[in-house]
Symmetry: C3
Subunit: 443 residues, 3 copies
């Protein structure tokens, strides 16, 4: 375990435009050459550390370690890669774009005929200007990705190919973790994958949203302990689950995988395997209250790291929060998923949404009406004074009545907000006022 | 406790047009100056006593009595009230219309400038011909209500104001109660508020419907004990709940608040807090069988006295049965809610509906099929003889088969009528025929 | 008990067009004069025996036997029946069509006036060319059925009527039964009525579908024991239930009444009384996977023999599988329900569907994921190698993931196929592959 912030830097200036700051961080992260292992991940954690509250730790798990049903793979690092034509010109150049090399490519050097080379090339005939994103983590292979129209320019008979990469069996897998302790040791897990190279929406948008959330949470009292994990997809969450199986895992009460939060599409929430866990209902409520178009989907075992958290042995209440899901927008896993595709306004809206979700998690409780026989006389306690003439006053009165009526110890504030079709924030304020009037106590 | 029928009167002549008799009673009640306490309530109970079966009792609860979380307020009575202009002309006159005075107004006498007076006036700019209905029960105040176009005629500099009312801390709150004993001491509660002055649909229509129901029930054998309560809104039901907390309350199996049953809108049933109580399903079935347009709504903690019956400490199975709900028709709480707004035909239809509901409650039971292995041979028992050729005969056969098939002790006749999509009366007749044939016994 | 195949015959030649063979068998059965008792039933069982796997037994239950709430009626046999006009011409002739005589007619012989005769005639004014099907099993009567336009030709004053039938109190009721033992003694019941005379869709189509299914099942290993019963409607299933109450009945896990499977309409499945029994879900899944239009209906106590199997004392998980249900197509219970109305293609499709249903029943199990913590690494086990590039490969991968994710011992393969919205056969293959890889074990 090491600290990615050993080289202290100045915290970035506070900004009144959180979306702009988030986008700036995203541009800072964009060029780094991430994969499921290697120095790109470490560099990314160092950048995150400059933006996160104190406490981010980096963990190195040696290649070859058994983790659940898997083995940590060799550490991959790449220095250079290119295809040169007969004239010595780099026609495909890793220095120009991270995506040009198939992730986890084995090293290669030599001359290949065009036909031989072609078997190692990946392009998108339907999107001829875009470089696709390809990896080959668990079956040794090498390859290059390029725009289809550039591929069509390759006319030479022979090409010189070089991938100056290493796959080090003595290396390690790296992940980052930040724990913000709360008054309870019950935990909320926020998980982001950190293995994608120059792709902005998938998943730098998730990283910067998580960073924004962590900073916001760090400044306020917390009931829950929040655990942020930044890890390579699949093998990272499997490694983390393996290492925390007896420690953090049993304490997780709610969790969220964050991803694809900077594009233009509307919000999509994929429920946990449990289907009606508190996190599932809280996200649905936050989205309803935001009044923004959104979609709720049932769990399926294909997707991001919720696949691992929701495997039947763990069955954690972890959902996945995105905008347009993976594979459903044309820029997905191509060079078009770049910082221009991600808008500051969209990042800021995503952050607001996860903040409002955490407010719901933090304040959701069940209460007991202390005067449950008939309605208590609110006027005597000054609670009717708050009632104005308009819609707002009516809603306030309704919120008070709903909280009183449903607070039999069996209904949480989330239950009540759902049933009353009133904003959670209003229900919460009503509960606060009723507690102040000694009409309500925690159940 | 006193008897509102100490001065015996002749019972009204039986009529073949129940709507006309109901409307006549409503017109008789309309001019009385009701409020949450006072002589108007007593006078109303005396009129009800002349129309109800024997046994209506009136209960006086002294002002200052603690009832649940509330205190019985001083008794309000009013003799006269007016605003006179400089010429001595009564420009607002309580003698002309009960609604001209804000209910529970404190006494006042003296000259006021037009501006001072104006702060105590209430009118409806959007409905300039109508007098609004206003009260101020729990914060001392005085005021007048008038048509907006009459308010606009007030041009004098000074007005003489008089409200000759008393708020007597040594007075009492009055409510009426009629119990029709049944063969069981399990109870059905029928609750009407009795505190509205000259308003016809809200709630004289509820009173006359309850009276019609009581007379009908009094003439027939009853399984349930029926308890009719006529009480001021909110404080009345709270008082009643307080006084009957250990006696009647635990015996209530079903209950209904009746209100707004004379207007032109379709029926609306608001479910009890329990949501799927027997009363909720029985009313839905009665409405379905009536084939009349209607709406079923979930419980909400705002409304009439079901708020108190359905407070979480009591959580009684009490719904609210109306036509168009309060606040959703333009005549609501104005002088336009007068006897002309309520039609005999509508009152009669409302009465028919609550009668059919009581028939369902009375006859709903679970039975045990005594020949549950295969179908019993109905022909041998003459039960097929009843089958005619047409739709009616087919439905009769279906009803017999449904009752036999579902009578495993787990399904009530209401369950069966719902599932079979057949009228409750047909299902009930089938059960009766099957009992007669000794194929069915109470479960 | 006797064997309908005591006279051995050659098995019919195997055909590559199962629909044609089914239709041929149907045409063979069509002319036989079936009723709820009598020689027509026995002849039918003899024909079935020539097409079924070995083992069909015929059972004779003496008239007068008490069976559940019923009594086995006298055995009815008919030799001839006609109405002759004054000229001695047979104007209605049983030899021309079985349907001309009301089933179970009492014997009659003599001259009747036209008016007297007319009271015993049945025709369809709306379908003047068709002979209706009528019976009078449990109230003694005689009658003839004829095309309405032929009835209108009857102008003579007197007619000679003859029904040469016997109702033998010393006779018996006949039903057939074939049991195909499986590795378990848990049973699947397939029930067809055998009492309809010359009607093709109702119910010869059910018989030939059952025969096709039995032959297919006989050739393969079976987990369940399959019991085929061929019995007269109502009294037959009641008799069977009576006789097997303590033996087969408690072992029935799934059951199906087959009928009306040769007409042009889409499939209709009527659920068992249990409503969500395994058979109900399996049929729904088979229909969904077939991608053919269909309708699912809730149980009702009117219909075929499911009425008896689903009587509350037995409450067996037996549904009813048809195409267009009885009474909902114009040919129903008329001479138009003849072999031309039933198409080989439709019979073959019905057979395919019940086969796929049995595949689901046979292979449905709950499994336990043996590597439930995180996803197991499929690539290492060669399970990713199966993934092609297209939709098929994606679905295979999804099927593997769904089976792994849901196999916590609580979810059956049917549950998983429903939730994943993937074909049962794919889910089953995935489970098989995962068992082979030792990732799954029966729960």
């Amino acid at each position: 375990m090491w600290s990615p912030s050993d080289t202290p830097e100045l915290a970035p200036p506070a900004t009144r435009r959180p979306g702009a700051a988030m986008h700036q961080m995203l541009r800072e992260l964009y060029p780094l050459g991430r994969s499921i292992t290697g120095d790109g991940v470490r560099a990314t954690l160092r950048v995150l550390a400059t933006h996160l509250p104190a406490g981010l730790t980096a963990h190195e798990v040696p290649s070859g370690t058994q983790v659940l049903d898997w083995t940590v793979p060799p550490e991959w690092n790449i220095r250079d890669a290119y295809v040169r034509d007969a004239a010595g010109r780099r026609v495909i150049d890793f220095q120009q774009h991270n995506l040009h090399v198939v992730g986890y490519s084995t090293p290669v050097a030599g001359w290949f005929s065009r036909a031989e080379l072609d078997e190692h090339l990946h392009s998108l005939p339907e999107q001829p200007d875009l470089i696709p994103y390809r990896t080959s983590y668990y079956s040794p292979a090498w390859g290059f990705c390029l725009a289809h129209h550039e591929r069509e320019q390759l006319r030479d008979e022979q090409y010189e190919v070089c991938i100056d990469a290493t796959l080090d069996p003595a290396g390690s897998l790296t992940y980052g973790q930040l724990v913000l302790p709360g008054s309870s040791d019950e935990e909320v897990l926020i998980s982001c994958h950190i293995c994608h190279p120059s792709l902005a929406n998938d998943n730098l948008s998730g990283l910067v949203t998580a960073v924004g959330l962590a900073n916001w949470l760090a400044e306020r009292p917390r009931r829950y302990t929040y655990r942020f994990v930044f890890l390579p997809g699949t093998i990272g969450s499997i490694t983390w689950l393996h290492e925390h199986r007896a420690s953090a895992v049993p304490r997780i009460r709610h969790g969220l995988v964050l991803s694809l939060l900077g594009g233009p599409g509307h919000f999509t929430y994929k429920r946990s395997r449990q289907g009606a866990a508190a996190i599932d209902r809280a996200v649905a409520l936050a989205l309803r209250d935001a009044g923004t178009p959104h979609e709720l989907r049932d769990f399926s075992p294909y997707g991001y790291d919720e696949r691992q958290y929701c495997s039947p042995g763990f069955n954690l209440p972890v959902g996945c929060f995105t905008r347009t899901p993976f594979g459903e927008f044309p820029e997905y896993h191509t060079s078009a998923d770049n910082p221009a595709f991600v808008r500051p306004r969209q990042l800021a809206q995503s952050l607001r949404l996860v903040k409002s979700l955490c407010r719901i998690l933090e304040h959701n409780r069940s209460y007991q009406n202390l005067s449950p026989y008939g309605e208590p006389q609110l006027g005597r306690r000054g609670l009717y004074k708050n009632i104005g003439g308009g819609l707002e006053g009516q809603q306030w009165q309704l919120a008070l009545l709903w909280v009183l009526n449903q607070s039999d110890g069996q209904h949480s504030l989330v239950d009540i907000a759902e049933k009353a079709n009133l904003p959670f924030t209003l229900i919460r304020k009503a509960a606060k006022a009723l507690r102040h009037a000694q009409l309500l106590a925690p159940a």
